[in-house]
């Protein structure tokens, strides 16, 4: 059942207070929106980068995110981690699983490109998009066959501590846990690193050049195919990280969640301005807020309709999105 939501709509509130005031609810949902949005943003970055460089809506990208969750679970199992991590494990096992997951999903994404998209670079316009839908179905149903249709219990490996009460000692209205810190503490550095890579390094510049004009990039001596591989790798790795974070945060995974999250993240990318990386981050946050608020104030079952309405409206009325650049090509 695709429409049930991915577990995020299970609102969290401090265990000992359930009767929150309206402003407390709003603030709490806004915090929820930030963590959700951070995950969307990581996925959206992969959409935006791939679209920027080969003009393809990589429909399978959301499923790479889902695989990130599934695969990271396997790595934890492989390392024998079924319960909360302690002390040294947090600084060894956790980064290791991040690294392994990101590597795996990066390689998967590159493989998808090499096998399914690359032969179609010069095919008719809609061919790669149709192929991408095909790949998405394959990945999604592989996961279904692999783990079965029931929701997957993701072990609660990351310790959840109520920061304000237990660390600060304040009996606050708000419920912020170490898991929220984990989300921000992983997504923000990843985004900063990506921004640095793209604006400061030679290959990052090559990537932007290729996105702008492939033929001229070739004439600069840039190996365009290598740049594309790099883009798919980074996009896949970020989606993998997002999957891992999703698992750690919500402790649940579904085979169809890639489709769902993919569409929301794609909406985020379009809203921010497809091709723009800061746009993807911003779009992710906005969609995070909106979906959290919608779950609270409208109803979780209408949230998808809301998000897709935003997608339609943006595509029609402001296809360049919020931050899409319109640099004149001519002087």
């Amino acid at each position: 059942m695709r429409w049930e939501g991915m577990g995020e709509e299970r609102r969290r509130s401090p265990p000992f207070r359930t009767n929150l005031d309206w402003h407390e609810v709003l603030i709490q949902q806004t915090i929820n929106g930030v963590t959700r949005g951070a995950v969307f943003a990581l996925i959206a970055l992969g959409y935006t980068m791939v679209y920027g460089i080969i003009g393809l809506i990589n429909f399978a990208h959301g499923d790479v995110f889902m695989l990130g969750l599934f695969i990271s679970l396997s790595y934890f199992t492989l390392l024998g981690m079924a319960g909360p991590l302690h002390g040294w494990q947090l600084v060894t096992v956790l980064p290791l699983v991040f690294l392994l997951t990101m590597l795996t999903t990066g390689v998967i994404n590159v493989t998808i490109d090499r096998v399914a998209y690359r032969p179609l670079r010069h095919a008719f316009r809609l061919a790669p998009l149709i192929t991408a839908i095909g790949v998405s179905f394959m990945l999604e149903n592989l996961a279904l066959i692999w783990k079965g249709p029931a929701p997957l219990a993701y072990p609660d490996v990351f310790p959840s501590v109520d920061i304000l009460r237990e660390w600060v000692g304040v009996d606050s209205l708000l419920f912020i846990t170490t898991k929220d810190l984990l989300v921000l503490g992983t997504t923000i550095p990843l985004m900063i690193a990506l921004q640095y890579f793209v604006t400061r390094t030679t290959w990052g510049k090559a990537m932007r050049a290729t996105a702008h004009d492939k033929e001229t990039a070739l004439a600069m001596g840039i190996d365009v195919e290598k740049t594309i591989i790099l883009t798919f790798f980074i996009g896949g790795a970020l989606a993998g990280a997002a999957g891992l974070i999703q698992g750690l945060y919500y402790n649940i995974g579904m085979w169809w969640m890639g489709y769902q999250a993919g569409l929301r993240a794609f909406t985020a990318a379009v809203l921010g301005g497809i091709g723009s990386m800061p746009g993807a981050a911003l779009g992710g946050l906005v969609i995070g807020f909106l979906s959290a608020w919608s779950d609270q104030y409208i109803s979780a079952r209408w949230t998808n309709a809301l998000v897709f309405s935003i997608l339609i409206l943006v595509l029609i009325f402001r296809p360049q999105g919020l931050l899409g650049e319109r640099v004149p090509d001519k002087a």
């Binding site: 030679t202 600069m220 004149p328």
Partner: protein, 240 residues
């Protein structure tokens, strides 16, 4: 092919899209020369340059650069061999800064430490770019963009420079400036293959020229002789 020949095309046939753009083009460029290709729109000038840089693959025939066959070599490797291009319509990276554009020109270089020195050389050649280094490429004027495109190509420190329509859309004074710079670049030791709509300007700066017509070379001679030839005067210089 002469002994000092740097670039040679031999019986090159090529398609551009669905159109058979080249039907057996042979030409040579010797080291140190400026050679120009003239002809009307659709004659195959740009396609010829594309087969040299490798973005169009010849159906038949060979392209040789510095004694090495390059007609099956990927473009990024051709650039490393020492060919750089300033493409038609400039095609600078509009959302990137002038400095970034220039840096990208040097992408294929392995002698990283010599790059700052070359940047100085290029900025000396195009002083107007110096004030604009931090500006986005897309905000430059047409003439500045042309300078940037040429400067970017020179950052690769190429043995051979391919120039495609450098005068396009430029005012007469700027055209004069650009052509003076082209001559200057050549005198500093870079071989140039120049494709130009403005046949008169091209022939005055070049040593030799080829006239292309519907994918074939119909005339070749020293530039001065071409300037005086009847065919060229009538068809390309607009004289009667």
């Amino acid at each position: 092919m002469s002994a000092s020949g740097l670039l040679a095309l031999d019986d090159v046939h090529a398609y551009y899209g669905n159109i058979r753009a080249l039907k057996g083009v042979s030409l040579t460029v010797d080291r140190g020369e400026i050679v120009t290709l003239i002809g009307s729109n659709g004659a195959g000038k740009t396609t010829t340059l594309r087969t040299v840089i490798g973005t169009v693959r010849p159906l038949r025939g060979t392209v040789t650069f510095a004694g090495q066959r390059i007609d099956r070599v990927p473009t990024h490797k051709i650039v490393r061999l020492g060919i750089a291009q300033s493409p038609e319509g400039r095609r600078i990276f509009a959302p990137m800064t002038v400095l970034e554009n220039l840096e990208l020109g040097a992408f294929s270089r392995t002698d990283r430490e010599a790059i700052p020195q070359d940047l100085e050389r290029v900025l000396a050649l195009f002083p107007r770019l110096r004030d604009r280094l931090g500006q986005k490429g897309g905000t430059l004027s047409g003439g500045e963009q042309q300078m940037l495109a040429m400067g970017r190509a020179l950052m690769a420190r190429p043995d051979m420079l391919l120039l495609d329509e450098p005068s396009m859309g430029l005012s007469p004074i700027l055209v004069e400036t650009i052509f003076a710079i082209i001559r200057n670049i050549n005198q500093l030791g870079t071989t140039i293959l120049l494709v130009e709509q403005n046949a008169r300007m091209a022939l005055r700066v070049a040593h030799r020229g080829y006239v292309l017509q519907t994918g074939r070379i119909v005339l070749q001679d020293a530039a001065g002789a071409l300037l005086r030839s009847d065919v060229v005067r009538k068809a390309y210089l607009g004289e009667k």
